[in-house]
Structures are given as structure tokens and as C-alpha cells.
């Protein structure tokens, strides 16, 4: 947008540039320090503590140590499993529900839509949620991590709004050709909605990957801990981690930062894709909600 009818003065522009640069550095520097510390060797960490902005003799000892089959490796597998299974199930249920509600005037769609809308407005609260999971016998089960957060009503609303925008003639034509509702969903609706399906799937995946609180609440057996609880124990609460039979013991701080890098990396990988679409998703929800 060209607002600049009168060009800004150089001093103003310099000040703006400075403020924005500082803001960006405040976000970037911590990441740089985390990665550098994870790669730094013992002498450097011993000398500088956490003040490592560039590893002088980079080594992967810390990564070798956390991937050699100990608690971190297991937690990583748990997190990957819960994320993959959870996001797939969430996406399937969300898409089905959104599709079931995407034909205005169909039998029962208005009350069900109300049920979805109200679920966005009122959350049940920690205690009753815990008791429900407990009464269902899901404590200490991976299913608790998935089932306690299976559907986000907001995502259903966004996806339904997207389905409603699809050209209805296409669906009618398919119906005349003898396609069932399920065929229409799988063959026409989903392929036309790839972008929204992918973004909502990724949002679910990020939520499962980041999930800390349900794990804290429902998982007490520490052999079932996902990565987030391992991070809390060994990084936030600073418990000493055993490195098994590793002959070369990496410095504690490097180990901790390596764990952080491992948990940040998947998010970084999907981030460009997320970023391309989330603003649009928010707008759909805001306009159509």
C-alpha cells in the first residue's frame, strides 16, 4: 500500500529500522544461542556458561547422547506417535463433522452446529475434564493425550465455512452421476479443499506435539512421558540426565539445548507452510463464525 505521499524523513526511517531490527534480534538471538550451545564442546561451555553465540569446535556429542536409546529417544517416539495418530484422527473427525454440517437445511444440521458453536464458547474446566478421563479409565494411556483434545470446534467452523464456499453445482452433478455422499467427500470436496485440510491438519499436529498439560495431568508413569514432560524434567527443572554408556559425556547444558533443538525443529520445518495460510484461516473464522 502506498501511503507515503510525503516521504518519511531519514531520521524517522532510521528509527523505525532500528526498532524493527531490535525486535527481530530479540526473537532470533535466543534460537542462535540455543543451537550454538547444543553444538558447543565442554571447554567452551565450561568457560562461558550459556554465553555461547557461536560454537568454536562444533561437535554432535550431545545429539549422539540423546539419540542413543535413553529416555529422550523413547519420549521422542511417544511424541511422534501421538502426533501422527492424533493429528490423523483429529483431521478425519473434523472433516467428517464439517462435511456433515455443510449442507444448509439438511436434517439435524442446525442443532448439531449449535453444539459445535457452544463448545467453542464454554470449556469444561480442568477438574471435570480430569475426572471424565479418569472415569473412562484412560489415565496413563496414550489415548488420553489424543482423546482429550480430539476436536477443536473452531477448526470445524473454519473447515465448514470452506466447504460451503465450494461450487454446489459440482456436488449436484456428482450426485446425478450416482456418487454417494462419501464418494463426493473423498473424490470432490477434499481434493478441492487441500489447502485448508493441510493447514488444519498441521495445526492439530503442532498442538499434539506441543501438548504439555494433558500429559502432565493424565500420564504419571514416566516411561510413557512424551517429549514435553522430558523437557520439563531435564531442562526446566534441571534434573541430571544419565547418558547411558556414552564414553564421551557432553556438557549438561549442551544436552539440554540439544533436547530443545529436537523439539523445536519439527515446528520450524512446517512453519513456512503454516505461515502462508494461518492468517487466511483466522480471517475465515472471524468473518464466517
Amino acid at each position: 500500500m502506498s501511503v507515503a505521499l510525503t516521504p518519511a524523513r531519514p531520521a524517522t526511517r532510521a528509527a523505525k529500522g532500528l526498532v524493527l531490527t531490535v525486535c527481530c534480534l530479540v526473537v532470533i538471538l535466543p534460537f542462535l544461542a540455543v543451537v550454538s550451545t547444543s553444538l558447543a564442546d565442554e571447554s567452551q561451555v565450561a568457560a562461558a556458561g550459556g554465553y555461547v553465540l557461536w560454537p568454536e569446535r562444533p561437535s554432535f556429542y550431545a545429539y549422539e547422547a540423546i539419540f542413543d536409546g535413553g529416555v529422550v529417544t523413547r519420549a521422542l517416539l511417544v511424541s511422534v506417535g501421538v502426533t501422527v495418530v492424533g493429528a490423523s484422527l483429529s483431521l478425519a473427525c473434523t472433516a467428517l463433522l464439517a462435511y456433515g454440517l455443510s449442507r444448509p437445511g439438511s436434517f439435524g444440521s442446525r442443532p448439531i452446529l449449535m453444539v459445535v458453536l457452544f463448545s467453542v464458547l464454554f470449556s469444561p474446566g480442568i477438574i471435570p475434564m480430569y475426572l471424565t478421563v479418569k472415569e473412562l479409565g484412560l489415565l496413563d494411556s496414550y489415548w488420553a493425550l489424543i482423546l482429550s483434545a480430539l476436536i477443536n470446534g473452531f477448526n470445524v467452523i473454519v473447515m465448514r465455512a470452506f466447504f460451503l464456499e465450494l461450487p454446489q453445482e459440482l456436488l449436484d452433478a456428482a450426485k446425478i452421476d450416482g456418487a454417494s455422499e462419501l464418494t463426493i467427500l473423498v473424490r470432490i470436496v477434499l481434493p478441492l479443499s487441500k489447502a485448508v485440510v493441510a493447514v488444519i491438519g498441521l495445526f492439530y499436529a503442532v498442538a499434539y506435539w506441543n501438548n504439555f498439560f494433558s500429559a502432565l495431568l493424565y500420564i504419571t508413569d514416566n516411561s510413557k512421558y512424551p517429549l514435553s514432560l522430558i523437557l520439563r524434567t531435564y531442562v526446566v527443572d534441571n534434573a541430571t540426565i544419565g547418558t547411558g554408556d556414552a564414553t564421551q559425556v557432553p556438557p549438561q547444558q549442551s544436552l539440554q539445548m540439544a533436547m530443545l533443538v529436537v523439539s523445536i525443529l519439527p515446528i520450524l520445518l512446517v512453519y513456512p507452510f503454516l505461515q502462508k495460510h494461518f492468517a487466511k484461516g483466522i480471517m475465515i473464522g472471524a468473518v464466517k463464525g
Partner: protein, 324 residues
């Protein structure tokens, strides 16, 4: 296929909702049953994991013990609410901490994204805008465990900041684990995590402002600052009002996970907020009923605040969250 066994009526092809009277219930059910089947898994989940727990709030009025079960627990009326009415000191402490943190958030977490969005919006270069946005959005997608760990690594006693200060003989500062700075730390973490995210809606609102308004203002001799004051700010006013109302609804819920993660280091006096109080009191201390009561009051107050703020917004001629 039930759908294909009869000719399609005119009513069904109308773009708007057909009047339910014209097509009978039975026929609509026969026509739409597969759509209903699609909705079933999600609907069942919502009932079991959302609405059933919502009903589970009745334990606020019961003497619940885990081994008895919700249904068999005896009713106790409003006994569980006595901690709130009589002002249990731990509860009051949590309430005060919550309000202080909320106020700090209102002063910093809310306006900073607006200021930054204004700054970003005044940039001419689209590429620069996009780059800055990409960088600032990122922390939003990280979990609190990661954010807290990063902050410890930055500001902790052996962290980046203190490493830097020590190397240049500037002494050291104690931030992490210091009860006196805990609330400021919590707010700083929220600013770091969500400033970028908070800008999105403001930037979107700014991009919808008609450029002709700026041109007209410039022709009238308005400086860039005056253009911001007379064009941009009025243009985003309703979004600001909307988000402020929603924020008010959350006045009693501040950073649950975030604070729970950092409580051990600073102790409950400085760090207990309502959400952590409810959690610690129930799962930790086993007083389920009282915790549920506190949680319930919190929820009701939140809804009341949103409704009240919405009313005030209407009085000022704003649309608010919903319209009458």
C-alpha cells in the same frame, strides 16, 4: 441410494435454507442420513469429552471423593464455595496475583502488538514487512515448556545475559527464580511469544482501510503522524474493541501452563494464580469440590465480564463481539 430414488424437488436447489415445512422430516432424514453419519463421530466426542465434563461441574455442589464417584457423592449445597466467601488466604493470594498479572498484561501485552503493527504498516517495502512478520510470528508456535527453557537459558544465572555481564565485569542479575521479578518475567515471556501473533488481526484491519482516506488527509495537509491518528486508528477501532472485550473475559485466567512450569523456583506466594490454585488444590491436595467451585466461579465471572464489556462497547457505539 435414497437420494436418487426420487426426483429432486425445487426447494432443495434453492441456494438459501429451504423452509423445513415443505419437505417432511421423514423425507429429509431419508435424504440426509449419510451426512448425519458423517457428523456422528465428532458429535459423540463433543458430548463425551466436552458436554459431559461440563456437567461434571456439579461436583462443585457435592462432597466428591475419587473412590465414591460423581453420581454417589452427597450433595453439600454451597459449602464448597466457603473458601471464596470466607476469603481463604491462599485463595485471596492467588486472586491478587492473577489480577496484578492481568493488569500488567493489559498494559503491555495488549498495546505492544498495536504499536508494532502501526510501525510495520508504515513501511513501504512489502518484502521487509513480510520478513519481519515471518520472524515475529514464529515464537507463537512453540510450547510453553520450550519458551520457559529458552528464557532460562537466556536470563538464568548461567545464561547468556549473565555470561555476557560477567565477561565484561558488569556483575550479574538474578531474574529467573527471583520471586520479586516473577510477574514481570511472566509478562515478558507472553510479549516475546505472542506479540507477532497479536499483530495479525490489526494488520489485516489496517490493510482494509481505503487508501483514498490517506490521500484525502494528505491533501488536507495532515502529517504522517496525524494520518495515523485520524485515519489508521479509527480504522482499527472496532477490532481493538473486540479484542479488548475478549481479553477482559480472560482477566481471571493468566498463563496456566506457563506459571505451573515455573512455580517450583519461586514459591506459591509470588506465583500462585487462580488456575494453578485450582489445579494444585485438587490434584495435589485432593479438595476436588472446592477447586471445582473456584473454577466454576472463575468461568462465570469471565462470561459476565465479556457480556458487561460488550454492553459498554454498545453504549460507545461499537459492534462488540455480538450484536443485539
Amino acid at each position: 441410494m435414497a437420494v436418487l430414488s426420487r426426483p429432486r424437488g425445487v426447494v432443495e436447489t434453492l441456494p438459501t435454507r429451504p423452509a423445513p415445512r415443505r419437505v417432511g422430516r421423514g423425507r429429509r432424514l431419508r435424504r440426509d442420513w449419510l451426512l448425519l453419519v458423517c457428523a456422528v463421530p465428532g458429535l459423540v466426542w463433543l458430548l463425551v469429552f466436552h458436554y459431559a465434563p461440563l456437567l461434571g461441574n456439579v461436583i462443585a455442589f457435592k462432597d466428591y471423593q475419587p473412590y465414591v464417584g460423581i453420581a454417589d457423592a452427597p450433595w453439600v449445597g454451597f459449602d464448597n464455595f466457603s473458601i471464596i466467601v470466607n476469603g481463604d488466604p491462599a485463595f485471596l493470594n492467588a486472586l491478587v496475583n492473577t489480577l496484578v498479572i492481568s493488569l500488567l498484561q493489559l498494559l503491555f501485552v495488549f498495546p505492544i502488538p498495536i504499536a508494532l503493527a502501526l510501525l510495520l504498516n508504515s513501511l513501504v517495502s512489502e518484502r521487509m514487512k513480510r520478513t519481519v512478520q515471518s520472524i515475529l510470528y514464529l515464537p507463537h508456535f512453540l510450547s510453553w515448556v520450550i519458551i520457559v527453557a529458552i528464557f532460562q537459558h537466556m536470563l538464568g544465572n548461567t545464561g547468556l545475559l549473565n555470561g555476557f555481564l560477567t565477561e565484561h565485569d558488569l556483575g550479574s542479575v538474578s531474574i529467573i527464580g527471583n520471586p520479586e521479578l516473577f510477574k514481570e518475567l511472566v509478562v515478558a515471556q507472553v510479549v516475546w511469544k505472542d506479540t507477532g501473533w497479536g499483530m495479525i488481526l490489526f494488520l489485516a484491519a489496517m490493510s482494509r482501510i481505503d487508501p483514498e482516506l490517506y490521500e484525502a488527509a494528505a491533501v488536507d495537509g495532515a502529517s504522517r503522524l496525524r494520518q495515523v491518528w485520524h485515519v489508521t486508528l479509527p480504522g482499527i477501532k472496532s477490532v481493538v474493541a473486540l479484542l479488548l472485550i475478549l481479553r477482559l473475559g480472560d482477566v481471571l485466567s493468566v498463563g496456566f501452563e506457563q506459571i505451573l512450569l515455573q512455580q517450583n523456583a519461586v514459591g506459591p506466594t509470588a506465583s500462585e494464580v487462580l488456575d494453578t490454585y485450582v489445579f494444585n488444590n485438587a490434584v495435589g491436595a485432593g479438595s476436588w469440590g472446592a477447586s471445582a467451585a473456584a473454577g466454576l466461579v472463575k468461568g462465570v465471572v469471565g462470561v459476565a465480564l465479556v457480556l458487561g464489556a460488550n454492553k459498554v462497547a454498545h453504549l460507545f457505539g461499537e459492534r462488540g463481539v455480538y450484536q443485539r
